[in-house]
């Protein structure tokens, strides 16, 4: 059994890689399930040994990848508290918010050889839950768009500014309009606990979407 600290950046990077990979798949799947984009741009791909829907559109893919590239340093240092995929209507008011709350234990302990396969199993359950979430959610109005919000701890955004300069991908502090949701309804979807990360996914839905 190995116990590593946060200073062991290699392991922190591994965890950040795993989470960012998962978030990329989850964002694509949310866009597919919630019909933010027409289903024609999606194709079936394999992740965690199960079929998932990923977009083929290059600009959409690039946007999602750049977003997560900037989020990754925050996850490495455990500064990212929440990553939210917000679906907004035409007036840029949020109608739905898929919130991934992420927390990592300060002492990462690898307790078993099957840790990664166990984590894969848990992430697979998340994917499955997103696939069937439309059973508990109301339909969205047409013409929706999406954005990604990151809630950070303390003043971690200063670190992000360095990454922005490199990547030329500006992050701005979110408007109140984009953050505040009227009459939100909370629907928990899935929770996972493992040695390397704790995550829970819930959906905040506006009571009246149309």
């Amino acid at each position: 059994m190995t116990t590593l600290t946060r200073q062991d950046l290699n392991f922190g990077q591994v965890v950040a890689d795993i989470l960012c990979e998962f978030l990329e798949v989850a964002i694509h799947l949310i866009l597919y399930v919630r019909e933010v984009y027409p289903s024609g741009i999606f194709q079936k791909r394999k992740k965690y040994n199960v079929p998932v829907q990923m977009s083929c559109h290059p600009e959409l893919n690039q946007y999602i990848q750049d977003t997560l590239y900037c989020v990754k340093p925050l996850i490495e240092k455990n500064d990212a508290e929440k990553v939210a995929v917000v679906i907004m209507d035409k007036e840029h008011h949020p109608v739905e918010r898929f919130v991934f709350e992420i927390s990592q234990p300060p002492l990462l302990s690898i307790s078993s050889d099957t840790l990664l396969s166990h984590v894969e199993q848990l992430l697979r359950a998340f994917i499955l839950k997103i696939s069937v979430c439309d059973a508990v959610l109301n339909n969205n109005p047409p013409g929706c768009s999406f954005t990604v919000l990151v809630h950070t701890r303390d003043a971690a955004t200063r670190n992000m500014e360095k990454v922005q300069v490199i990547k030329d991908f500006p992050w701005i502090v979110a408007d109140e309009q984009e953050v505040h949701m009227q009459e939100p309804r909370l629907i928990p979807l899935k929770t996972m606990t493992s040695d390397i990360v704790k995550m829970q996914l819930y959906v905040e839905e506006r009571a009246q979407k149309t």
Partner: protein, 442 residues
């Protein structure tokens, strides 16, 4: 069938928002797949009649399909709303049954696979336990048996090689009649592994009086043989007789031989090595015993030699042909050490069974110096050993001091290790022995 399954399915579908496939249901509830299909059908029918909740279902349709003049057998999973349309296109419908029931309207079939993935993975070895597809000739090969036969084939070849150096080393030292029959046994051991087991059993049998019938029955069964050995040692703990100790030494010696030769007999060796380690590889164990210089081995060696001494020469503690000085060392503390060894034998029944190996042992040599004082020096010498450690430690603890100091220091550890009565005897014994030793040297 009882109605409980309806509640179960209702809980899965409505409360947990799961996709319930017939395969997942059969693995979860432990029922045949056809039973699971019927359960899902009844549940769907029941819920549709109640019209309480919005449920979606998928169906599996299999039958003959004519495509561009070619007839093929087609198996498809279709959504409920497309079922009738699909059925009309089939030329012959062989089977239609419910595939899954869920609350969500599935956009594609990906989640259906994901649902079954973990359930099948958890039941990988018997995922077809409830399946309707059977093949009598499809029997999996028993892999543990394969591995065992492979291990048995591999392990006998290195063991005879390792045993031979040990035999040679101990043959040099062995000048006692007790070792001769054991050497003969060793010769028998060197030939084959299977006969070794039997020979070892026979050899052990006359020596292990208590366990003779048990050992006889347990020929060729190493695991069971381990128990008689450990029982033997456990019973030895109750007896504090020198002869019994001697028998134990002899039997442990032969048992060691036996263990070295027979690869499956790992447990007796493990029981012996309990104070040190619990290595299961007898080959590595013998190597380690050869190379190690631990106090336990010293004690084993000293103890063994001391046991043999009383018979040929009661006055001398240890008769070692290559080290007469050591005899003098032994004499002063012969009797207490014997008692210590018997007590220690009781305490460390496990450590009796040692292989006879040569090792470097810290020995104390007592001699008369210029001033007329008896001085004890410690030095490393190679000796054969096979006994427990206490005796070696009692000898080892002798410092570079006059006799009195030596006696006191040697008795202190004795007191720590042995009972109070024994330690009192040890004190008296050491004092008398030292006086005798003083006179003899002059």
């Amino acid at each position: 069938m009882d109605e409980l399954y309806l509640d179960n399915i209702d809980e899965y579908v409505n409360d947990q928002d799961k996709i319930v496939t017939y395969k997942w249901l059969s693995l979860t509830l432990g029922v045949h797949v056809n039973t699971a299909k019927q359960m899902l059908f009844h549940y769907l029918d029941h819920k549709r009649k109640e019209s309480s909740a919005q449920l979606n279902a998928t169906y599996l349709v299999s039958g003959k399909f004519v495509d561009n003049g070619q007839t093929c057998h087609k198996v498809s999973v279709v959504k409920e709303d497309k079922l009738e349309d699909f059925k009309s296109k089939m030329s012959l419908i062989v089977s239609v049954h419910v595939y899954s029931v869920q609350k969500a309207l599935l956009k594609d079939s990906g989640p259906l696979y994901s649902v079954d993935y973990d359930a099948v993975k958890d039941n990988m070895k018997n995922c077809s336990r409830y399946s309707a597809i059977r093949c009598a000739s499809a029997v999996p090969v028993c892999s543990p048996e394969l591995q065992q036969t492979r291990e048995i084939q591999q392990s006998p070849t290195p063991e005879p090689e390792n045993k031979k150096p040990g035999m040679n080393g101990e043959a040099n030292l062995a000048s006692k009649p007790s070792t001769k029959p054991q050497r003969g046994i060793m010769g028998m051991f060197a030939n084959k592994s299977a006969p070794k087991n039997q020979d070892g059993g026979k050899d052990v049998k006359p020596e292990q009086k208590e366990d003779a019938p048990v050992v006889d029955l347990h020929k060729g069964k190493p695991d069971v043989k381990a128990n008689p050995m450990t029982n033997f040692f456990g019973s030895q703990a109750a007896k504090k007789v020198v002869k019994t100790v001697e028998e134990a030494a002899q039997s442990s010696f032969s048992a060691e031989r036996q263990r070295q030769t027979s690869p499956p007999e790992e447990k007796p060796a493990a029981a012996v090595e309990l104070p040190k380690d619990t290595k299961k590889d007898s080959r590595s164990k013998t190597k380690r015993l050869v190379d190690s210089d631990s106090e336990e081995e010293k004690m084993d060696k000293k103890k063994r030699r001391r046991i043999k001494k009383p018979e040929p020469d009661s006055s001398d503690e240890d008769v070692i042909p290559d080290s007469p000085q050591r005899m003098e060392t032994r004499e002063p503390s012969w009797s207490p050490k014997k008692k210590v060894e018997s007590v220690s034998h009781s305490h460390q029944g496990n450590s009796e069974m040692k292989t006879r190996k040569r090792r470097r042992v810290l020995k104390s040599r007592t001699f008369l110096d210029d001033e007329g004082c008896i001085v004890t020096e410690k030095g490393y010498e190679s000796e054969s050993y096979s006994e427990a450690e206490d005796d070696v430690q009692a000898a080892k603890r002798a410092p570079r001091n006059p006799v009195a100091a030596k006696l006191s220091s040697s008795t202190k550890p004795d007191e720590k290790r042995s009972h109070k009565k024994t330690s009192a005897n040890a004190n008296k014994g050491t004092k008398q022995a030292s006086i005798m030793g003083f006179f003899q040297k002059k």
